[in-house]
């Protein structure tokens, strides 16, 4: 797989553009300076972020457990929770500032402590919001809105990508849970809002991942949006909403599939550098395939293809691997939930396999699958 990810560097691209006369000497220097400026702040590798994130989440749980068990802070008092929450968040920001000026050892421990402190602070704020109602009747809206507000306020000061990702993901999941749980809405309004939330998430993710105008700082939000979409698509694919369909509440597989199919068509157009390119033969076929998948009402397959196309187009190994891993799961879910006999399922599988192999044969016959050495 790695051979498909980028092997060109910025210098080579600038040199080639300069040689072709598409960029003059001054422009090349300006491009070089901009690229260096944008790349000056590098993130730690993903494996380190995952490792430290898991550690910080466990430590946050332990610290919250300590506060809850010992009663050092009364978790039933909104004021106490807000005060202590503010202190913990301030502490997290100070620790992060110190971490930035420290060597590797101190930096790693301080970042870990800082993230843990931020986790406790945000949890206390969420508890404060829920305290008023939590012991009488459970309301999710205040929790979602409070976490959203705290995340928005701390966003400019607190630049840990794992915190931004986790907090944004938490907000999105709480918003969805609030919509699902809220019985004050009319059933159809509730479903409409849920589908609108999915549409907004798709649109926001599309802007973050495809526009050059959006700063790299927003990428954790992009990953949170994709993760939130993955949860919703999984819920549809595994029939979680089937029981609630009787009451009319839930995401519509058809509507979400149409939204994802439109997204995939747009994504193919973006990857090909312009929607006008979609008129070309192979790309038209790809779009037709996306619409066919939408007709099957299977958002999981569309979503996994979107992840893979986006990952490949952006040279983003994480998205590419995620798409490849979830695809077999969604294929399995699709056939498992099909309400037909094993024999019919077998027939459908073989036929759909043959359709895909025909696509492969078409590409081979037209020599569309020959690799071009770019390095």
């Amino acid at each position: 797989m790695s051979r498909f990810l980028t092997c060109l560097n910025a210098q080579t691209v600038v040199d080639r553009l300069h040689k072709k006369g598409l960029v003059d000497e001054k422009g090349a220097q300006e491009i070089g300076a901009t690229v260096q400026k944008l790349s000056a702040e590098r993130e730690l590798p993903v494996y380190l972020r995952i490792l430290s994130g898991i550690g910080a989440v466990i430590a946050t749980g332990c610290l919250m457990g300590f506060l809850g068990i010992t009663g050092v802070i009364s978790l039933k008092s909104s004021i106490e929770c807000v005060l202590w929450g503010t202190l913990f968040i301030a502490n997290a920001i100070v620790l992060l500032k110190r971490a930035e000026k420290s060597g590797v050892t101190a930096n790693s421990f301080l970042m870990q402590l800082s993230f843990c402190s931020m986790g406790v602070g945000k949890t206390l704020f969420v508890l404060a919001a829920g305290t008023a109602d939590i012991w009488r009747h459970f309301e999710i809206w205040p929790l979602a809105l409070t976490l959203a507000a705290v995340t928005a306020v701390t966003w400019p000061f607190y630049r840990l990508s794992i915190d931004r990702f986790a907090s944004s993901f938490g907000v999105l999941m709480l918003l969805f849970a609030a919509l699902f749980d809220d019985r004050s809405f009319n059933v159809s309004v509730s479903s409409l809002l849920m589908n609108a939330l999915v549409m907004a998430e798709i649109a926001a993710a599309a802007v973050i991942f495809t526009s050059g105008r959006v700063a790299r700082d927003w990428r954790p939000l992009g990953y949170a949006l994709l993760s939130s979409l993955a949860v919703k698509v999984s819920m549809i694919s595994f029939g979680i909403f089937e029981h609630s369909y009787s009451s009319g509440i839930g995401l519509s597989a058809g509507v979400v599939s149409i939204m994802l199919a439109i997204t995939l068509v747009g994504l193919i157009g973006w990857a090909a550098d312009g929607l006008d390119k979609l008129r070309e033969g192979p790309l038209s076929l790809a779009c037709l395939g996306a619409l066919l998948l939408a007709a099957l009402g299977q958002p999981g397959l569309l979503f996994s293809i979107i992840l893979m196309v986006l990952g490949y187009a952006r040279h983003d190994r994480l998205l590419l691997i995620a798409g490849a891993l979830v695809m077999p799961v969604f294929i399995w879910a699709f056939y498992y939930h099909m309400k037909v006999t094993l024999l019919v399922k077998a027939g459908i599988m073989v036929l759909s396999g043959i359709v895909l192999l025909s696509g492969w044969a078409y590409m081979a016959a037209r020599n569309l699958n020959k690799e071009l050495e770019i390095c």
């Binding site: 790695s2 980028t6 060109l8 560097n9 910025a10 210098q11 691209v13 598409l22 960029v23 491009i31 901009t34 690229v35 790349s39 000056a40 702040e41 590098r42 993130e43 730690l44 590798p45 494996y47 380190l48 995952i50 490792l51 430290s52 898991i54 550690g55 910080a56 430590a59 332990c62 457990g65 300590f66 930035e100 790693s108 402590l113 630049r159 840990l160 990508s161 794992i162 915190d163 526009s211 050059g212 790809a286 490949y312 952006r314 040279h315 077999p328 294929i331 056939y335 073989v350 396999g353 043959i354 192999l357 696509g359 492969w360 590409m363 699958n369 020959k370 690799e371 071009l372 770019i374």
Partner: protein
């Protein structure tokens, strides 16, 4: 986490990707023509074609094979036994012959060889259905694994070895469940056995990868290492979390399996640090060790030091978590730098 500031990185060390082009375009540093040209440089349409065609081939073959498995699992009485065997054997011979014709070094040939390997299992399953051999399920998987080996050796094909690894793991687990200890009574032992078996496969992969290009793909290491680490971590987890006493009075060999696992994890650290440096493998091993040590700290606090007061127990556990995971991150960051430096000097 987390951002780390660096001094200006040389341009030839910055990968050129789509994000970079979009950012330059948004700042009007690239004209539409330059943007289109640069895009074609990093993503030629022909390479997109190759990627899509491989996706179609992989998915298509998977679906057709799954359909065949489902079809024979249905055990359709209307199809005579002779026809069933005939279909599978024809499919098998067709796959093998086509793979030889196309060439085993091409992706298509590899897919055909893998399909032939899967059809061997289908044949054995149908054989069991038709002749009602009464054999346990582990027999099917064991025979399947044994029959794949010569094919995989001849085909020099990583996906076929992946099928072998999956089939043999299932075979071993079923053998344990059906013959050695019915009802998973010796679950820790089987996890250690699976860990050792997969470590042997991993060792073979590492040993041969330099000589055999088809085995050198990174995914082959990850696909073997991750389940191996997961199986290896089960015994120490059980040792630290089970309710057994540590007074030495109970005749229990859990400690022995935990020690075997500890030696194996140590081996992974040494190997992927000294012999074949790989930060991802080291991080996965470090994560498993941190989680195991976390349970160890909990157990020691509860039983070793008699921490009965729950509040201070969780607080100490939280501090230990920061120390463990923070320590692992520090070690990995320093190791990454050393490995980078070593790579520059080679």
């Amino acid at each position: 986490m987390h951002t780390v500031s660096h001094a200006a990185i040389p341009l030839d060390k910055i990968p050129a990707n789509r994000q970079m082009l979009e950012e330059l375009r948004a700042r009007n540093l690239l004209s539409p023509q330059a943007h289109a040209d640069a895009l074609e440089m990093i993503h030629p349409p022909r390479n997109w074609g190759l990627w899509v065609s491989r996706l179609l081939l992989g998915l298509g073959v998977t679906l057709v094979l799954s359909g065949i498995v489902y079809f024979f699992a249905f055990n359709w009485a209307a199809v005579p036994d002779f026809a069933k065997f005939g279909l599978i054997i024809t499919g098998f011979i067709g796959c093998v012959a086509s793979a030889c014709l196309v060439g085993l070094d091409r992706v298509t040939g590899q897919m055909l060889a893998t399909s032939a390997g899967v059809l061997v299992g289908v044949f054995l399953a149908v054989f069991g259905q038709v002749y009602q051999t009464g054999a346990d399920a582990w027999n099917l998987f064991a025979a399947w694994a044994v029959l794949i080996v010569p094919m995989a050796l001849a085909a020099r094909n990583a996906p076929l070895w992946a099928v072998f690894a999956v089939v043999s793991n299932i075979g071993i687990a079923l053998y344990w469940d059906q013959i050695v200890a019915a009802g998973w009574r010796l679950d820790i032992v089987i996890f250690t056995v699976l860990a050792i078996f997969n470590t042997v496969l991993l060792a073979a992969r590492e040993l041969l990868a330099e000589k055999m290009e088809w085995l050198a793909a990174r995914w082959t290491r990850g696909a073997l290492l991750l389940p191996t680490i997961a199986f290896t971590a089960v015994a120490p987890f059980d040792f630290f979390t089970s309710s057994r006493g540590w007074n030495g009075l109970e005749n229990d060999s859990t400690g022995l399996y935990a020690m075997i696992s500890a030696v194996m994890l140590g081996g992974f650290f040494c190997f992927y640090r000294k012999v074949k440096p790989d930060m991802h493998a080291l991080a996965a091993t470090a994560l498993a060790c941190c989680l195991v040590l976390e349970t160890a700290v909990y157990r020691f606090l509860r039983e070793g030091f008699g921490f009965d007061e729950a509040g201070f127990l969780v607080l100490t556990l939280g501090a230990a978590t920061i120390a463990l995971f923070g320590g692992a991150v520090v070690w990995l960051r320093k190791t990454a730098r050393i490995i980078e430096t070593e790579a520059l000097h080679v």
